[in-house]
Every structure is written in C-alpha cells, then in structure tokens.
Symmetry: C2
Subunit: 283 residues, 2 copies
C-alpha cells in the first residue's frame, strides 16, 4: 500500500475520522485507511458518498466493519429561495440510507446583500422546524453545530452552544441534538458550563476535535489544525464531555491546506498519536 506506515500508537476505540481530514482520499480510500490504522468510526461527506452511490458506500463501510458516525452535512438554511428544505430532506434520506445516526447542520450566514442577522437566525429556525418531522420519521438526528463567530456573516449565524440549545429547545432531544466542536467554542468563557447544559438537556449528539491555528489563513475556514499544533487546551473540554456521560465517537475534522497536502497515511498516523496525547487522557 503506497504511503502506508506502521502506526506506532494504537488508535483509541472512540476515535473517528471525519473524512474531510483526508480530503484527497475517496470514500473507498478513507475506509481502507481507517482499517489500516485501526480507526473504527468514519464521518462521511455527501460529496464523497455521491462519487460511488449510497448503496455501494454502505456496503463498503459495512464490509470493513466501520461505524458511520455522522453525515456532513446539511443546513445553509438562510439562502434566499426555498431550495434549502428540499436539499436538506435529500441529506436526511442519504443519512438514513447510510445508517448515519446524525446529520450535521451548518445554519448558513447572511443571505446575499443582507445585514439582518436576526432575520437570518429566524429563517434558519423556521426551516429547521420544517425539517425536524421529516428527519425524525427517518430516524436521523439533526445535530446543530455552532460555528466560530468569525464565520457568522458568511457561513453560520449559529455561534454558541447556548444559542444552539435555544434553537433545539422546541424539539425532542432524540430529534435535535448539538454538535460540540472544540475549534468553534474553545474561546467561549461559558464553554464548560455550556457543554454540561447541552448534555443535561440530552442533546450532546457528537464531539468533534481539532485545533485552532494562528495566524488565521487567507481562507479562514482552513484555520483548523491537528490537535497539539495550535492554541487549544483539549483537556478541560474533553473532561467536560466525559463528565457529561457522553460515550460516543470523537471525530477528528481538520480543514487545513498543509494537512490536505500531506500524505493521508501520514495524517492518519499523526491523528492517532495526537489523539492519544491530547484527547484520550481526558476522555
């Protein structure tokens, strides 16, 4: 296997690869990579699934003995027009067909030409309310993901865990949970209490880890880094997640030009060892 390396550290049983971390890999390559590196869970992306089709994707994942930990992603509810609901229903269908337990939702930013963040938030909540019954009947949990406030205008008007809890409140916890991602929330002075509140509400749907890199790159979306390479202390948030009783997978999701340029097998090796060093001790 070209690029294959001996993994010096055994992969933690709860470590999951979010496949955008090894973006160059096809889904089939990511599945093989997980098997090779002992990683048992895989968060998949719709774009990658579409390359081979859902049935084939599910067969390969099942044959490899991997668990699908999430489907990325739905959302972008704030764009003008009515396309968002239909597109999100398709994403729910795909999640159900893949056996993904949850669909990660990114709310969307300000509509083109608008500065009305309050209206955009209201619109996102409206579309979520329309989507929830459809997702619930399909057995797919929606995971609201607050994104870092630097993305509020162009990507996601949902910015904190507390706000995500408010958005989720009208719905049953089995239908709407919250995605806790270290990159987006580490700065929040209430982050530990908010993680506890999310869990107490029965809504801690998934825990994602990656680091926050400085300086922020020209494409600010790519400021995510391997654990240990940036400024985040993973121990307190991970301990809060563990104390909350969450026992599910922990996905590593990294958008980073250097990581994407690296040999994906090397990324897997680093991911396994970084997870063991910075995340696992508090889990």
């Amino acid at each position: 296997m070209p690029g294959a390396q001996v993994t010096p550290v055994t992969a933690h049983p709860r470590l999951a690869l979010n496949q955008w971390t090894t973006r160059r890999w096809s889904l089939a390559e990511a599945i093989d990579g997980c098997v090779r590196h002992g990683v048992r869970g895989l968060g998949v992306w719709r774009e990658k699934v579409a390359e081979i089709g859902i049935a084939e994707a599910r067969r390969r994942i099942d044959d490899a003995g991997l668990a699908v930990t999430s489907l990325c992603r739905g959302g972008f509810f704030t764009a003008a027009g009515n396309a968002a609901l239909a597109e999100n229903r398709r994403a729910v269908d795909e999640a159900a067909a893949l056996g993904a337990p949850l669909l990660v939702l990114v709310a969307g930013g300000l509509p083109a030409g608008s500065r009305d963040v309050t209206a955009a938030r209201g619109r996102a909540q409206e579309v979520i309310a329309e989507l929830v019954p459809y997702a619930a009947s399909a057995g797919v949990r929606l995971a609201l993901e607050p994104l870092h406030p630097m993305y509020c205008a162009d990507r996601c008007v949902l910015s904190t865990l507390a706000q995500a809890l408010e958005w989720a409140a009208p719905f049953d916890p089995s239908a709407v949970g919250v995605c806790v991602d270290t990159f987006h929330i580490w700065w929040d002075p209430t982050v530990l209490a908010s993680i506890a509140a999310v869990a107490a509400a029965g809504r801690l749907a998934t825990y994602q880890v990656c680091d926050f890199m400085l300086p922020i790159p020209a494409d600010a979306l790519l400021a995510r880094g391997m654990m240990g390479d940036g400024v985040i202390d993973f121990a307190p948030m991970t301990a809060a997640v563990a104390a909350s009783g969450y026992t599910g997978p922990v996905e590593v999701e990294i958008f980073n030009a250097d990581v994407w340029a690296e040999d994906p097998d090397s990324v897997m090796t680093r991911m396994v060892s970084s997870f063991a060093e910075f995340v696992a001790p508090s889990l």
Copy 2:
C-alpha cells in the same frame, strides 16, 4: 491645506475620531483634521501623544476646543512577568494628564507557550484588581473592551460583554466600565440584552463603531472597515445603546490597510457621511 475637501455632510455632534483611523496623521494633524471636518471628539493613542509629549498634546487639543474621548490603550495583562502593572499605571497617569475620561484596556491573549485560557483570564483579572485603586484615585475610568473571539488566543481573552460585566462586577462602576465596540460583538446572539445589561450596571463607558469586513485579511486585526462597507447592521446595536441612556461620544475606530492608504481627509469625509447614514439615525 493639502487634501482638504468640502465636507458635504455636517459632522454629528457625538461623532468622535479615534485617531488610529487616520493613522498616518500625527496628533497635531488629527486635531487639525477634526477641526476642519467639524468633529468634536478625539480618541487618542499613547504612541501619538508620546511624539510631542503630554503637555503639548493637551495644550493643542484644548486650544482646538476638542474633547479627548478616550486614551488607547492599556492592558496586555497576561504576558509573563510583572511589567504589565507598571506600564498600565503609566497609561493611567497619561490619561489623567490628558484629561481623558477613560483608558481602554485590551486584556491580552495567551502567554507565550501557554494554552491555558482560564489561567490567562485569572491573571488578567488579578492585574486589573491591582490597577483599579490607582486609576480610581487618578480619576481615570478603566474601560474593559471585549474583543472578537477570533483574537482570543493572541490578543484578548476577554471575548463578550457578559464576560466583561463579570470582570467588572467587583469594582465601582465609576472605576470600571465596559467598551461596547460593534466590530467585536455584533455576532453575539445576546448582544442587545448584553448592551442593556452593561448600561443597567452603569458601566457603558464608551461606544465605538466600525464595520466587519470579509474576507478576513491576512492580518486579522485589520478586518475593521468603514460603516456600510461590511456586514454589520448598526441600527439595532445603536438603538440599544441609545435606549440605555448613553449620551456620550461615539468613536469611529478603523484598522484597515485600505483606509490607512487613503488620504486621511478623504477618510474623514467618508467617516462623517457614513456615520450620518448608518449610525446617527438610531442614536
């Protein structure tokens, strides 16, 4: 006067220039620029004052009939060593000598090599507690400024108005207030309630306006823009400030490479008209 232009819009009586907006100008030039454009308040920077000395700076400002609205800035409490307190006492002395009603404080980021944001926050609060009696006896109010969360690691571990209120709580409102700056807080889903809470606590020390520009530039500090050029809706926050009973100056503080490259007189003209269009109607 080279570059002087006729200002088509009369400057709002509460509009103040933060002199970093016209960074190329010396303090003397900024004073002349304010007079020329009918701007009555000036937020001054220590670096610019130092070029001519405090006595001369004060004489020129007084002779021009301008009000000093703030001194920028103190803070950076989280750096290793004990230099921060002494440096901030000097900043307080300068504010008192200039007749500045308040000293703006930027808390500082993570100390070099540290990822412990909780410890950095604790350290900042400790130094503030040491500084308060000195500032109070000098008649200088300290204005805690929460900065956008994207600066949490490298610039300011104080990120929200709610957090600033917590930090200020042990001290008399006349001694410690909060700086409300649209750029840093516009994304906050609780921003309007937080502005009201800051004001209800008697701590709304100053209101600063500028826009949030996308994409975030390579130097993320320079993402500030002229009102109307970015994504911020100034009406709701300005209305909240007005409803709170704040009647003080409104400073325009812009860090932006394009604005700094522009003729400062042109910047002043745009500032006066942008303020009239986007801020004044809600004030």
